[in-house]
Structure formats: structure tokens, C-alpha cells
């Protein structure tokens, strides 16, 4: 488990290495089958060519699918670090209705007395704190 803890992906480094070796072997064998299929086709052995090409294509397909899955498994936790949400604070002047939307700062809270209104000089109040838009899935 310690090796997996280091990668933070749920799979160990040695497992990833083993996966790549098996995939590389499958890829080479598939290419060889395709080559045999091609030479059989050229020499007129159509039945052999079809079977060999089919095996080659299936092998290539499997290796590509597994490679894509493996990449996703390794990269997803690394590529998606913590993304801070864009939380906004709305300051509003009770007197003239002036509204200022700014980025949330630690210590802001709803109905806190905020800065002076640039229009009339009265102290503004934080009327809401929210974020807009969709949440980015961080770990899926």
C-alpha cells in the first residue's frame, strides 16, 4: 500500500510498469499479425489474410483501449489539483442602492458592514456571498 500511497492513484509504480510491458508486447504482436495478414493477401491466401488481419485489429484495439484507461487512471488525480471556487461577495449600499461585486475574502460574511459607498459615502453591507457556474469535478 505504501507504493500506492506515493503515487496517489490507487495503483503502484511496478504495476504500471508491468501494464506498459504487457501492452507493448500486445501492440508488437498485433502489428506482426497485421503484417502476416498483408503478406498473405499479397500472396493470394485470402482466408489466412482475413483471420490474421482480424486478430491484428482486435489486438490493436484492445491495447489502445487499455492504454487510454491506464492513462486516465494515472493522470486524473495528478492533472486535477484543488481548484478554488470563484466565490463572490456582493456589497450593497442601503441608501443609494450602489452594488459592488468583488472576490470573496477571508472574514467576509453576510450582513457584515463593509467599505464606504463610493457614490454617497455611506457604509455598505455585504448582502450575499455565492459562487456562479458549475463545480468542476475534482476527483472523478
Amino acid at each position: 500500500m505504501s507504493e500506492r500511497q506515493r503515487t496517489g492513484t490507487g495503483i503502484g509504480v511496478s504495476t504500471i510498469f508491468l501494464y506498459f510491458i504487457v501492452l507493448a508486447a500486445l501492440f508488437v504482436i498485433s502489428i506482426w499479425f497485421l503484417y502476416v495478414g498483408l503478406t498473405s493477401y499479397v500472396s493470394g491466401e485470402f482466408e489466412t489474410a482475413t483471420v490474421m488481419a482480424l486478430i491484428g485489429v482486435i489486438g490493436l484495439g484492445i491495447s489502445l483501449i487499455v492504454l487510454r484507461r491506464l492513462r486516465r487512471r494515472i493522470m486524473v488525480p495528478l492533472q486535477q489539483p484543488l481548484i478554488p471556487l470563484n466565490v463572490l461577495t456582493v456589497e450593497q449600499c442601503d441608501k443609494c442602492g450602489f452594488k459592488n461585486v468583488k472576490k470573496f475574502e477571508r472574514g467576509d460574511y453576510v450582513f457584515k458592514t463593509a467599505e464606504k459607498c463610493p457614490k454617497c459615502g455611506t457604509l455598505t453591507t455585504i448582502t450575499s456571498i455565492y459562487y456562479e457556474g458549475l463545480v468542476k469535478k475534482q476527483y472523478q
Partner: protein, 371 residues
């Protein structure tokens, strides 16, 4: 063997290879299909477990950093935080259900007091609101730790016993767990900075009604303001903000009802409601009954007070997903809060007469919401 292939009608090398491969695949799938399926599911669960671990570790790290920044402890709080993350709550026995509500109530009070004391010791420079926020933050990290440990337990148990049915059950609930994990991470971020969360919608509605009026403390961590609406005497109550706090709305409502000697025409409760798939966040719905979640002790107290004086209770619910409830408040929910305020005014004018007394209770975590 060659004769068998002759019977099958194929004698070329290619056909023989083809037959052999097909036969081998058939045998492999026939004999090992279950094992292959279990292996695939286990790998999927293991991958998700790795992600849960990453989130749990991040939450722990954020907790440590926030505690250091806000609380300015003299010693490194890491060891104490690690100890805190292992706490759990032992429920009272239900063998004799009579009086279990009060047992729960007492144990929850003890738990809260213990958590607050621990946080105060770890963060000596934090004020009351910050202590509440830090306590919420540590509780979210604690929950993440617990989820990780439980999923890991079932994963390892299923792997050790090769039990197909445990693997299936774990695999089935994995998408829900992952969504919950995402939500908890949002909660950790909100709690570390003191941002309002979706669950605070009810408290936000109450705060809007209370704003500008004098608020007095009533019961533990609860405040109340007397607000005139349409000639009615309206008592608006919520948990005391802006620190992360849910308070004890049951005790507050009971006290107000007793203060008014039971002469209350209506109680309106406002809370966040878990929406169903397909429903929009921020939509409001009306209901009859005590709208309050949690373990049930506060609901019991409210229902008890209602029954004693036969007070009608209405509820206005703001819809949101379980993820939105514990993540920073979305704009749609703020819109829902405005809709709820309109609904309260309408309900008061339609269902009560001028001169009547009404109680409005904003339920939920009041983090980042003052009064």
C-alpha cells in the same frame, strides 16, 4: 486433431488458428467470467479508493494549515489533529427506546463541548466564530477519514474473501460515495475560509428578515428578533452567526412558545431540502410539518411543543442537491432565498390575522451569515 478440423470443413493453417483461438476464448470466458468481472470491479473500487485517499489527505492538510493560520498555536497541531480525526460517536442503546431522545441530546451536547474544547486548545488565538468554523472544518475532515476507512475496510474484506456480493454492493454505491467526497471537499474549502454553504439557506432567509432589528440570545447558540410583518408580531430565530453553527432550534422554538404562553398562531420553518434528480436548485416548495434534519432530537422537541398548544406548522423548503448543501452557496440558492422571503410574507398574510404571533425559524448551518 487434423481429422476434427477436416470434419469442421477447414484445413488451412489460418482456419485452424481461428478455431483454436475462438475455442480458447470460449473456455476462458466460460470458466473465468465471474473472476474477470470481480477483478474489474475491484480495480475500479481500488482506483476510487486512491482518489478518496487523495481527498482525505488534502482535507487533513487544509485543516492543519488553517488551524496554524487562524489559531496561531504555539506547538505543531498535526499530532492533535490526527488524533481528532479518529474520534467517533457511540450512539445510545435503543433496546429501551423510552427516553432515547434525551440520551441522544445529552451525548450530542457532550460531543460538541468536547470538540470545541479540543479546537480551543489547538487554536488559542481563534475567536468564537473562528472556533466554530474550525470545528466544522475538522468534522468534515473527520467524516472524510471515516468514509475512507470504511470503504477501505470493505474493499480489503471483499478482496480477501473474493466475495462477489460484497464487491457488487460496494461497486453499486461507489458513484454516490464519490459525489459525496466531492461535496465534502467543497465543504472543507468553505469551512476553511468561512464561506456560506448551501445548507445555510434557511438561516440566510431568517437573517434577511432579522437584518436591522435587535437580536437577543435565546438558548444555546440561537438568536431571536421580533420583526413586525403586516401587523403581525413575528419572532424570527436562527443559529448565531457568522461562525459555523446549527444551534438548537428545537430549544429556541420551545422557549419562544413558552414565553408567549402558547399563543402562537403559526410556526414557519425554512430549511434546505434535498432535491430529486431533474428538479432545479433554488426552487422552493411548501410543506406541512417540522422541516429539520439531523439526528431527530430537535425535531422531536419542536413537535412536542406544537402538540402541547396545537400550533399549526408550515415549512418552506429551498431545493438543492446533497453536494450543494455542503459546498459554498450557489447563486441559484441565493435566488431561492429571495423566493422564500416572498413566500413567508404571503403565508403570513394569508394564514394569520393582524395582531397574531408567528414564529419563523431559519434552519441550517449559519456559517458566513450574520444577523
Amino acid at each position: 486433431m487434423f481429422q476434427i478440423f477436416q470434419i469442421l470443413g477447414s484445413t488451412t493453417t489460418a482456419s485452424i488458428i481461428g478455431y483454436l483461438i475462438s475455442f480458447a476464448i470460449f473456455i476462458i470466458f466460460f470458466m473465468f467470467w465471474n473472476r474477470i468481472q470481480i477483478y474489474t470491479w475491484l480495480r475500479d473500487i481500488e482506483r476510487n479508493l486512491g482518489r478518496i485517499k487523495v481527498v482525505r489527505d488534502d482535507a487533513r492538510q487544509i485543516s492543519i494549515e488553517t488551524l496554524k493560520n487562524v489559531g496561531k498555536p504555539k506547538e505543531d497541531p498535526t499530532q492533535k489533529i490526527d488524533q481528532f480525526l479518529e474520534y467517533f460517536f457511540i450512539e445510545p442503546t435503543g433496546m429501551d427506546p423510552s427516553g432515547i431522545v434525551w440520551k441522544f441530546d445529552h451525548l450530542l451536547d457532550v460531543r460538541e463541548l468536547r470538540f470545541k474544547d479540543e479546537v480551543k486548545a489547538m487554536a488559542p488565538e481563534a475567536d468564537e466564530a473562528q472556533v466554530n468554523n474550525l470545528e466544522n472544518l475538522l468534522e468534515a475532515s473527520l467524516d472524510l477519514n471515516m468514509i475512507y476507512k470504511v470503504v477501505r475496510h470493505y474493499f480489503l474484506f471483499a478482496k480477501r474473501t473474493s466475495s462477489q456480493f460484497i464487491v457488487i454492493q460496494l461497486q453499486m454505491i461507489m458513484p454516490q460515495i464519490m459525489e459525496l467526497i466531492d461535496a465534502y471537499m467543497g465543504a472543507v474549502k468553505a469551512f476553511s475560509t468561512g464561506q456560506p454553504i448551501g445548507d445555510g439557506a434557511g438561516a440566510f432567509v431568517a437573517a434577511k428578515l432579522m437584518h436591522g432589528k435587535e437580536a437577543r440570545k435565546i438558548e444555546k447558540d440561537m438568536v431571536v428578533s421580533e420583526v413586525p410583518i403586516d401587523g403581525r408580531r413575528v419572532f424570527v430565530t436562527k443559529a448565531e452567526g457568522p461562525g459555523g453553527n446549527v444551534g438548537k432550534p428545537g430549544d429556541a422554538i420551545k422557549t419562544i412558545v413558552d414565553e408567549c404562553e402558547g399563543r402562537v398562531s403559526m410556526i414557519i420553518m425554512i430549511d434546505a431540502q434535498v432535491k430529486l434528480e431533474g428538479e432545479n436548485s433554488g426552487d422552493t416548495a411548501e410543506a406541512i410539518g417540522a422541516a429539520i434534519g439531523g439526528i431527530g432530537t430537535e425535531k422531536y422537541k419542536i413537535e412536542d411543543a406544537l402538540l402541547k398548544y396545537k400550533i399549526p406548522v408550515n415549512a418552506i423548503l429551498i431545493k438543492e442537491s446533497i453536494q450543494e448543501a455542503i459546498s459554498p452557496m450557489k447563486k441559484e440558492i441565493v435566488t431561492g432565498v429571495d423566493k422564500a422571503v416572498v413566500a413567508i410574507n404571503r403565508l403570513i398574510s394569508e394564514r394569520t390575522k393582524p395582531g397574531d404571533t408567528v414564529i419563523v425559524a431559519g434552519i441550517g448551518n449559519t456559517m458566513g451569515i450574520g444577523q
